[in-house]
Amino acid sequence: MVVRKTTVPMSQQDPDARIRNFDEVALGYSAEQAVEEAKRCLQCKDRPCVSGCPVEVDIPAFIRLIAEKRFTEAIRKIKETNNLPAICGRVCPQEEQCTKHCTLGKKFEPVAIGRLERFVADLELENGLPPVPRAKPSGKKVAVVGSGPAGLTAAADLAKLGHEVVLFEALHKAGGVLMYGIPNFRLPKEVVRAEVGYVMSLGVKLETDVVIGKLYSVDELLECFDAVFIGTGAGLPHFIGIPGENLPGIYSANEFLIRANLMKAYLFPEYDTPIKVGRRVVTVGGGNVAMDAARTALRLGAEESLILYRRTESEMPARIEEVKRAKEEGVKFQLLSQPVKILGSDCVQAIECIRMKLGEPDESGRRRPVPVKGSNFVLDTDLIVVAIGQGPNPLIPKCTPCLKTNSNGTIQVDEGTCMTSKGGVFAGGDIATGEATVIQAMSAGKRAAESIHEYITRKDRKATSS
C-alpha cells in the first residue's frame, strides 16, 4: 500500500468570516477523514511518538483502532492515561511532542495525532459520555486546589483510585486557564465544560468561589483531608515596568482574556462585563497568549491589531500554527521593537518604542535583542495588551507556613513526586514549574496523583502496623 505523503487537511472557518465571531476556527475531521489519516500511521514497534507524550498515551494503539473504525475503543484507549483528550487534541503543541518523533515525519508530513485524538474525543462528547463505574471507596480524602489542567488531572486520577476528592476553584467556573485564558475560537468552552463534567462523573466534588488562603488555609485543609494538591497556576501577570503602564486602556493579557472568555464580554451588553474595544490595538509579546489576545481584539471589532515583539518571528515562542492563523486573520507584526514608554493623559494614546537588533545568544539559546540607539518611534494606539508572561500566583505560598518557594516564587517540589517541603502537601503545574503548557501541567497532575496515592495508602499501612 502506498502511504499518503501529506496529512489529511482539516477544514477551518474562512478568515474573513471567523474574525467576526468567536466560534472555533478549526472544524475537526469527519469520520472518513479520520480513518484516512489514521491509515497513514506506520504502527512502529518502538513507538517513538509515545516517548514524546507527557502523559504517555498509547498513540499507535488508538490510531489503529480509528483506522479500524473502532472509535469507542479508541477513546477508551486514550482515556486510560489522558483524562482531557478533547482539550489536548486542540491545544497540545504536538509538533514539539508526539508528532516530532513520528517516523513518517522524517520523510513526509507526520501523522496528525492531535487531530485524531480530537476526533474521537469530540465524537464521545457528542454521543454523551458513557457512565463511568465508580471505584471502590478508599476512605481517604484529598483536597485539590485549582481546577486547571493540573488540578483536573490529579482529581480525576485520584477519584479513579477510589479517593474522595474535593476540587476547590477560586473563580465561579471550573477549568482554570482552559476556561478564562484560552479563547473560545481555539478551545470552545462547551468542550471544557464537558471535560470537567467527565472529571465530576468520576465522583470528584467541585467547590467554586473558594479562595484557598482566604476562606480556608492549607493547614485547615490538612485537618480535614489526608493530602492536599496545589495546582493554582501562573496567575500573576507581569508588566513591562515602563512609564504610563497603569493608564486606563492597558490590560494584562490575563485581564483582557478573562473579560473576553470567562465573563463573555464580547457579548456585552447582553452579558454584564464590559471590555474596551480598541480601534488600534497593540499586543506586547510573542507567545500563544499574545496571539490569543491579538486575535480576540480583532473579533471584538478592532480596526487594526498589531503584535509588538522585541525579537524576530523565528524566536517567537508561539506555535507556528497560531502565528499563521493570526496572520491569516490580518494581525500585523511589528518585530524587533520594544516599548519604552506609554503616552496619554486620561487614557492611553500612543506607545513609544525602540528598535532592536539581535545580538549574541542568551541563556535561553535565542539571540538577545539589543536596543538600537536613537531609533525611537511612536505608534498611535488606544488599547494595549501586555502579554509578556506571568509568574506563579503568590496568594497560597505567602500565607502557608513551612511551604518553601524558589527565588522566582514557584513552590519548591520534588520533580518526580511533586512533594513540597510541607508534609501532606503536593504541588504541580505552573505554580511549581513556572509558565508551561497545558499538557505539562497535566503530566504533573498525573505524577502528583500517583505519589499522593502512595503517600496516603502508606500512611494507612503505617497506622495499622503500629
Partner: protein, 286 residues
C-alpha cells in the same frame, strides 16, 4: 471548616432600602462570615450573565452565618441587585478577600466615612474599639436623606460627627472640614478614611501636614479578586500594587489618587450603554 463540603448557596435573608439609592442586603454565607475580618470584602456575581463586582462588608455575624453589604444602585449590576428580593439567591459569592485592616491599640483613631464608605467603617470601628482605642467617627453625605448607619457607628464610637454638603444635618460642609477642626485641636494617632476617591484624597491632604498616619480603603475596579488580572492596580509610593490582594487599605499619603480616579472612569461609556439597555428592557417588560 466543614467536614462535608456541599455547594454554597447564598440566599438573601434581608433587604432594606436605607436611602433613595443605598440598599442593604443580609446574605447567607456561613463560611465567609466565620472567616471575615474588618476591612475585607467580597466579590459577587448575580447570575449567569452577571459581572463580578467587589462589595465591601458593613457587617458579618459568624453565629448567624450572615454577611451584610451596603451598595448604591448606580450601575446595571447594582440596580439588578437592588431589584432582588428576600429569599432570592445570588449565584456566586467569593470571600473574604483582601488583606484585613490593621487592628491594634493606636490611641485616638478618627474614622471618616463618605457616602457609601460609611458602611465598611462599622466593623473596623468595632474592632478598634475592642482594642481600647478612643474612637471618633465623622460621617458625611450630600444631604440628610443619604446618611445611614449613624446609630450603629454611634454605638462603637466615643464621639460622632455628621456633615452634610447642604447643611440639612450636622455641620454644613465636607467630612474634611470637620477633620481639619479636630486635627487642629486634638491629638490624633491614626485616621482611617473610606469613601469616594476625591474624599479620600482630601483626607490625605488634610492629615499630611500633621504627619498623622492615614489609611484609605480603595474602591478599584476588579475582576477575579485574587491578584490574577491586575484590573485593580494602583500606584502607591511609586510602586504598582494590586488593590485586591495588597490592599484594599493603603497608606493614604502614598496613593496616586489621580491615577485611581482615571482608572475608575475606564468604563463610563460602557456603563452608560448597559444601563440604557437595562432600562429599555425593564420598561418593555411593564
Amino acid at each position: 471548616m466543614r467536614a462535608n463540603v456541599v455547594t454554597f448557596l447564598h440566599k438573601i435573608l434581608r433587604k432594606d432600602t436605607l436611602t433613595s439609592d443605598a440598599n442593604l442586603l443580609v446574605v447567607e454565607a456561613p463560611e465567609i462570615a466565620k472567616k471575615c475580618k474588618p476591612g475585607q470584602f467580597i466579590i459577587l456575581r448575580i447570575d449567569e450573565r452577571g459581572e463580578r463586582i467587589p462589595l465591601s462588608l458593613a457587617d458579618y455575624d459568624p453565629k448567624k452565618g450572615t454577611i451584610t453589604t451596603i451598595f448604591l444602585a448606580t450601575g446595571k449590576t447594582t440596580q439588578k441587585l437592588a431589584s432582588m428580593s428576600e429569599g432570592d439567591f445570588i449565584a456566586n459569592v467569593a470571600g473574604p478577600l483582601g488583606t484585613p485592616s490593621d487592628i491594634d491599640h493606636f490611641g485616638h483613631v478618627v474614622l471618616c466615612g463618605g457616602g457609601l464608605g460609611i458602611a465598611p467603617l462599622y466593623p473596623i470601628a468595632k474592632a478598634l474599639k475592642n482594642m481600647r482605642n478612643k474612637i471618633t467617627v465623622i460621617i458625611g453625605a450630600r444631604s440628610k436623606n443619604l446618611l445611614f448607619y449613624e446609630d450603629e457607628l454611634k454605638s462603637v464610637s466615643d464621639q460622632l460627627y455628621v456633615t452634610t454638603d447642604d447643611g440639612t444635618k450636622g455641620k454644613k460642609g465636607f467630612v474634611t472640614d470637620q477633620l481639619q477642626e479636630l486635627l487642629a485641636r486634638e491629638k490624633i494617632d491614626r485616621v482611617v478614611a473610606i469613601g469616594p476617591a476625591i474624599m479620600m484624597k482630601s483626607v490625605a491632604d488634610a492629615t499630611r501636614p500633621y504627619g498623622v498616619r492615614t489609611v484609605v480603603s480603595l474602591n478599584s475596579i476588579m475582576v477575579d479578586g485574587t491578584g490574577m488580572c491586575g484590573a485593580c492596580r494602583v500606584e502607591v509610593g511609586g510602586e504598582t500594587k494590586f488593590t485586591c490582594v495588597d490592599g484594599p487599605e493603603f497608606d493614604a499619603h502614598l496613593v496616586d489618587f489621580g491615577l485611581l480616579m482615571k482608572r475608575l472612569n475606564t468604563y463610563l461609556a460602557e456603563e452608560k450603554r448597559a444601563k440604557e439597555l437595562c432600562n429599555k428592557t425593564s420598561m418593555g417588560a411593564h
